[in-house]
């Protein structure tokens, strides 16, 4: 396989991992202020993702770094072009990141409420913006002959992209709710099951709207880079099945299904994009592709060796950390946050 394709796949894997993992901690963060008003319950909710969220976020940092190293033009065009959107995302992630550490270090209720809402906003804004970003990847953005973004902030906020943003927001919320049914006990778990069933409705509705909309707004269905075959169909089936699995108290399976829905739809989008990485709405000749945006063969080779050596290692110890904290978190236990 040519190295450009390998790196396109690796970046797809990194984004998929990011959406799958950070997806549920975004969801938990979004639900946090609504699930409970009691401090002890809120702390328990936060503790279900406490040991994991930072490691999950590193999937994004690594995706960004890999983009920079393997496709510098993609990184440069995207990050400078989506300037204000990324600024908003950064501010959200700053508040969210420190909120986990700060919220329980002071007991004033207003202090805690402020940081809880920071966790909410810091989770909801990126959850929405990532959908907006992916939609714009496939719909196309004004990119000129010099690979520079020629639009403004509001070009990104078109109805289609917003629909995709609301879809990702709702799916992550569902993913988080299902995660909570897996990680909590007693009253909190019951609440989580109810929340998950509620969250399933908008997630499914918005997904359907998004899929129909995609037919009109993008060439994803007609101009597939690689035919994804049944992958998107599996994604839909997985999402729909969640409600039945929740009815049967099969929380583990339900979580697997929201995970598959997220992973498979991400993969579908990236397959549709291939071999392009950013679509120019001005002229197809100005598309960024894995060829005109990539680093040299030598650099891609070095990076491939590094990735082959260290990605498995990361998977092993991150997996181990999930194993260490596999138990449910109860309100009666000792709370670190």
């Amino acid at each position: 396989m040519e190295l450009q394709t390998l790196w396109f796949i690796l970046i797809t894997v990194l984004f998929t991992g990011f959406f799958f993992l950070e997806g549920f901690d975004f969801g938990v963060g979004i639900l946090l202020p609504f699930m409970s008003r009691e401090d002890i319950e809120r702390r328990t909710i936060i503790n279900t993702i406490g040991p994991f969220w930072d490691g999950n976020e590193v999937w994004l940092i690594t995706a960004g770094g890999a983009m920079f190293a393997a496709f510098p033009e993609w990184y440069a065009t995207l990050f400078s072009g989506f300037y204000l959107a990324l600024l908003l995302m950064l501010v959200a992630m700053i508040f969210r990141g420190v909120a986990f550490e700060f919220r329980s270090k002071h007991s004033d209720p207003r202090w805690r409420s402020f940081w809880d809402w920071s966790i909410f906003a810091g989770s909801a804004i990126p959850a929405l913006l990532w959908g907006v970003a992916l939609a714009n990847f496939i719909r196309g953005i004004p990119i000129d002959a010099e690979m520079n973004y020629a639009g403004g902030f509001f070009n990104l906020l078109n109805p289609y992209a917003l629909a995709c943003g609301l879809t990702s927001l709702s799916i992550f919320t569902l993913h988080g709710a299902v995660f909570l049914t897996l990680k909590t006990t007693d009253a909190l778990q019951e609440k989580a099951v109810k929340t998950a069933k509620l969250a399933w409705v908008p997630a499914v509705l918005l997904s359907f709207i998004f899929m129909v909309y995609t037919n009109y707004e993008t060439d994803l269905y007609s101009h597939l880079g690689i035919n994804p075959g049944i992958i998107p169909i599996f994604s839909v089936i997985a999402l729909v099945s969640v409600i039945f699995l929740l009815q049967k108290n099969a929380a583990g399976w339900a979580f697997a299904m929201t995970g598959i829905a997220i992973a498979f739809s991400t993969i579908t989008i990236f397959m549709g994009l291939y071999p392009r990485v950013l679509v120019s709405s001005l002229d197809p000749a100005w598309n960024l592709t894995i060829y005109n945006a990539s680093s040299s063969e030598y650099t891609l080779g070095i990076m491939s060796i590094v990735a082959l050596l260290f990605v498995p290692l990361v998977l092993v110890y991150q997996g181990w950390s999930y194993w260490v904290f596999r138990q449910r978190v109860s309100t009666g236990g000792k709370l670190e946050y």
């Binding site: 690594t62 890999a66 510098p72 950064l90 501010v91 690979m147 520079n148 680093s295 991150q318």
Partner: protein, 451 residues
């Protein structure tokens, strides 16, 4: 307003702020690991308490370091897109490796450490914080590999169309001598930063009178030795780094010394008021021969001055102004070295205290030991200001000028830049206030016996 100026302002502001937190993370991770190891080895309760106490402060600080670090990674693409296109083939690699190799380790094992007190064996738990310390310091190594390419590019060739630099030798990038001069300096800078904070807070508790006197005496001992070793290392590493700079970036050295004319033997300026416009001194007190000694360990030897270097660079790179802001370079160097000298003094005083086992502090000594915690912060910040501003007008030395690296104004307008600068300023102000509030609260609360 000029987008180049605004982008520089934002980069300076966000990186200096980020680096308020990084050195403490580097140094305090190792320090906490040492304390926990002492607990595992001796089983003494005070070591566990101290691990928890310093661990809390470490975590508060760590969180701010992480979130401001994400801004740094995004900012290259956001504000320096032309730079990113030019160097991505090289510069992106250590950044990606930093995330893959260091950030994953750091974040995963920190989660394990924070939540794993009751779930892991003592030894495994102590191993977790050592791995966090390793991860943090590895991340410093990789970002310095990236920075060293900007300071002294190596292992590359220009692409056929001249549009970008391409890596030809990863080994050369990694074993760039600049990395191995800079890394020990940054690493020991972290040790010093943590050491002086430990001294400050321990002395504060001892002088105030604490029921945990024994624990804070231990803390003071560990902190003083840590700070002393760190100060010696940081001074030596800084010295060799400056000597290395004589060969790679003589202009930075000349600017840091406000040395307008080449001299042999070269004098060291104690205090200079310069005139950058006319490239001359207004007023100066100098130690004859001292700069030659610092540069070559001998009182003989020519140090090239700013004027001559400017002429050389014009011949090599074409017409232009190759002189960085001399006043910035000169004073940041003096603040860094001055702070370092004071640190050496204070850490020796601390050593005398712990050798004599005298833990009573006069009001003056208390103030001295306490406020010394600021010294490493001054040195860290001015050190980076010298490293980055002393390299100007280059963003990658000899290859790309800073003005060529900035995102085009058509993509990132000055209006957008003003919005982002104002946002970062306000958010960072709030972060600083909150961080200070919590650090102060937890530092003053002392050891928690409840847990």
């Amino acid at each position: 307003m000029d987008t180049l100026f605004l982008a520089k302002l934002q980069f300076g502001m966000t990186s200096v702020f980020h680096f308020f937190f990084v050195p403490l993370t580097l140094g305090l991770s190792i320090f906490t690991a040492i304390l926990e190891t002492a607990w595992v080895r001796t089983g003494k309760e005070k070591y566990r308490q101290l691990t928890r106490f310093w661990g809390h402060l470490f975590l508060i600080n760590f969180a701010v370091g992480v979130v401001t670090g994400i801004v740094m990674e995004f900012q290259f693409g956001m504000n320096w897109s032309q730079y990113s296109r030019f160097v991505g083939d090289i510069f992106g690699v250590p950044l990606a490796i930093e995330a893959l190799l260091a950030f994953f380790i750091e974040s995963t094992f920190l989660g394990i450490w924070v939540f794993g007190w009751d779930r892991l064996s003592k030894k495994l738990h102590a191993a977790a914080i050592w791995i966090v310390a390793l991860g943090s310091n590895l991340s410093a190594l990789w970002i310095l590999v990236a920075n060293s390419f900007m300071q002294a590019p190596t292992g590359f060739r220009m692409s056929a169309d001249g549009a970008r630099a391409e890596m030809t030798d990863f080994g050369a990038l990694l074993f760039n001598p600049h990395v191995w001069k800079q890394f020990p300096h940054v690493l020991s800078g972290g040790i010093v930063t943590a050491g002086f904070l430990v001294i400050a807070i321990s002395v504060w508790h001892l002088a105030k009178g604490t029921k945990d006197r024994d624990a804070f005496i231990t803390s003071m001992k560990f902190g003083t030795i840590y700070a002393f070793i760190g100060t010696i290392l940081v001074t030596l590493a800084g010295h060799t780094q400056m000597q290395h700079l004589m060969t790679t970036q003589p202009m930075k050295v000349a600017a840091a010394e406000a040395l307008w004319e080449s001299e042999n033997p070269a004098s060291f300026s104690l205090f200079t008021v310069g005139d950058q416009e006319n490239l001359k001194d207004v007023f100066s007190i100098r130690l004859p021969g001292m700069l030659s000694f610092l540069a070559y360990n001998s009182f003989e030897g020519e140090v090239t001055g700013i004027k001559e270097l400017q002429k050389e660079y014009e011949e090599t790179y074409g017409p232009g102004n190759y002189i960085p802001s001399v006043i910035t370079a000169y004073w940041s160097f003096r603040f860094m070295v001055g702070a370092g000298t004071l640190m050496l003094l204070v850490s020796v005083l601390g050593l005398v205290k712990i050798i004599r086992e005298n833990y009573d502090f006069s009001p003056f000594m208390k103030k001295l030991f306490f406020w010394s915690f600021l010294l490493p912060w001054i040195a860290n910040s001015t050190g980076w200001i010298l490293a980055e501003m002393g390299r100007q007008p280059w963003i990658v030395f000899g290859l790309l000028k800073t003005e060529q690296g900035v995102s085009p104004a058509s993509v990132v307008s000055s209006g957008e830049l003003m919005v982002s600068i104002a946002s970062f300023f306000l958010v960072y102000l709030m972060l600083a206030a909150t961080d200070l509030f919590l650090m102060r609260k937890y530092a003053m609360a002392g050891i928690d016996h409840e847990e």
